[in-house]
Amino acid sequence: MRQFVSTLALIAVLLCAGVALAAEPILVGTTTSTADTGLLDNLAPKILKDTGLDMRWIAVGTGKALEHGKNCDVDVLMVHAPGAEKKFIEEGHGISRTEFMFNDFVIVGPVKDPAHIKGKSAADTLKTIAAAKAPFASRGDDSGTHKLEKTLWKGAGLAVPDKDSWYIQVGQGMLATLRIAAERGAYTVTDRGTWIAYEAKDHGKSGLVILSEGDGALRNQYSIILLAPKCSKIKHEAAKKLQAWFVSKAGQKAIADFKLEGKQLFTPNAK
């Protein structure tokens, strides 16, 4: 009997070793900004080499990504909406939230800047736009960027201009929203990563330029969230391994090294 048990144990150990050697798929629920900019495409091979994890991702708005996390449909989350993330953890859907990189948001608008917002703070910018009733394109999709935009309105002491005709609620990804803003001569809030990718594609001839940047309210923090144990089927160990890679020296360097059109898109800031 004892021999039987030890044989079983040996087989188990061998099986585990076999699994460790083969690339283990891990499904990340993430946002359009990490995928559309090409960051994940760039990091995936490095992650495979360093950890043996075959990273795959579902890129949707942060709201939907969190919903996928709640339903245990992904192994780990990589999102950027601190407020919603904290609520997600308080409600018991996640066990930890690790900040690992940031980029920032910028307010872009038509070159002519009809509402004269250039150089203003984020709050003043929105007040000016609202007073001028200048067209403003909103993501309108409950994404991280949309959530940030709503906090900006709040910070300016204004209600979200939901029903106003100059407030265009797009309901699509960031690049689509930028294109619509360019077509309609509207202002919009975008993460800098997507902005650089967008500008690079249109060779700077898009008709939109950065008009307000650098305000503390415009910082865009990305975090990795490990899901609660109630998700019994997902790969908790692999998720921890992936999280560890992102905050490791190698991971942080890979993030800093990722450049588009010669510009660094994300700044690593794991503690």
Binding site: D36, C72, D73, L175, A176
Partner: protein
């Protein structure tokens, strides 16, 4: 709008270069379409035949239901299937979400009403003289059934072609249930949606051209088989 010509040129370039990303999407599309079409036919042909051939109580209600389901929006099918196969859904155990079989399940729900409805119509409208002639020749029930089946075969092929067209070009279910995962569940249509979202209109057109070429190849093949059979 120079992205049209650019798109066509890019389609040729992608095909000639055997671009791995494009072909991965082509194979995902082919796999998911084949699975969904096969399941729709396996379930839909017998059900459609039964619905058109036999007279039973509740038949008209069943017929109405099937025709009604033809209008079910694909986004709603996507949501329903997501709810069913999500880890916390009733079929979560099967681990189908964000996989090719999961997408095929959703697309089967799309194809099934088309096959059932068109097959039922085909069987209902087979020449009534056929039945009378067969009866007068003393055919038994089985011989009648087989004869009707043979008579309706082209109409059933048309049903299959219609379902194929719907399934291969679907994007809502594929996006919601498949998740558009690169190298795995990214089909040609979800890739087009992604590229369009990224502002890569030419690449979107190129992929559209490739999808239409795949569909043309399938239709040519079916045409060939039909001519052989006739």
């Amino acid at each position: 709008m120079d992205f049209f010509s650019e798109g066509f040129a890019k389609a040729v370039a992608l095909i000639l270069a055997l671009d791995p990303e494009t072909f991965s999407a082509v194979w995902a599309t082919a796999g998911v379409t084949a699975l969904a079409l096969f399941a729709s036919l396996a379930l839909g042909l017998p059900l459609g035949f039964g619905l058109g051939y036999f007279r039973f109580p509740g038949r008209r209600a069943a017929r109405l239901f099937v025709d009604w389901m033809l209008s079910l929006p694909t986004v709603v099918i996507g949501l329903i299937v997501y709810g069913l196969i999500s880890s916390r859904g009733p079929l979560g155990e099967w681990g189908l979400l964000f996989t090719v079989p999961g997408m095929a399940l959703g697309l089967t729900l799309l194809g099934l009403p088309i096959i059932i409805s068109m097959t039922a119509t085909a069987v209902e409208t087979t020449d009534t003289r056929l039945t009378q002639t067969l009866l007068s020749l003393g055919a038994d029930r089985w011989q009648m059934l087989i004869a009707t089946l043979v008579e309706a075969r082209f109409a059933m092929a048309l049903a299959a072609a219609s379902a194929f067209g719907r399934i291969v070009s679907e994007v809502g279910i594929a996006m919601m249930v498949g998740g558009n995962i690169k190298w795995h569940t990214r089909t040609i249509t979800t890739a087009i949606a992604l590229e369009t979202g990224k502002g890569e209109f030419a690449t979107g057109i190129a992929l559209g051209v490739i999808l239409m070429l795949v569909a043309l190849a399938v239709n040519l093949l079916v045409g060939l088989l039909r001519r052989r059979a006739a």
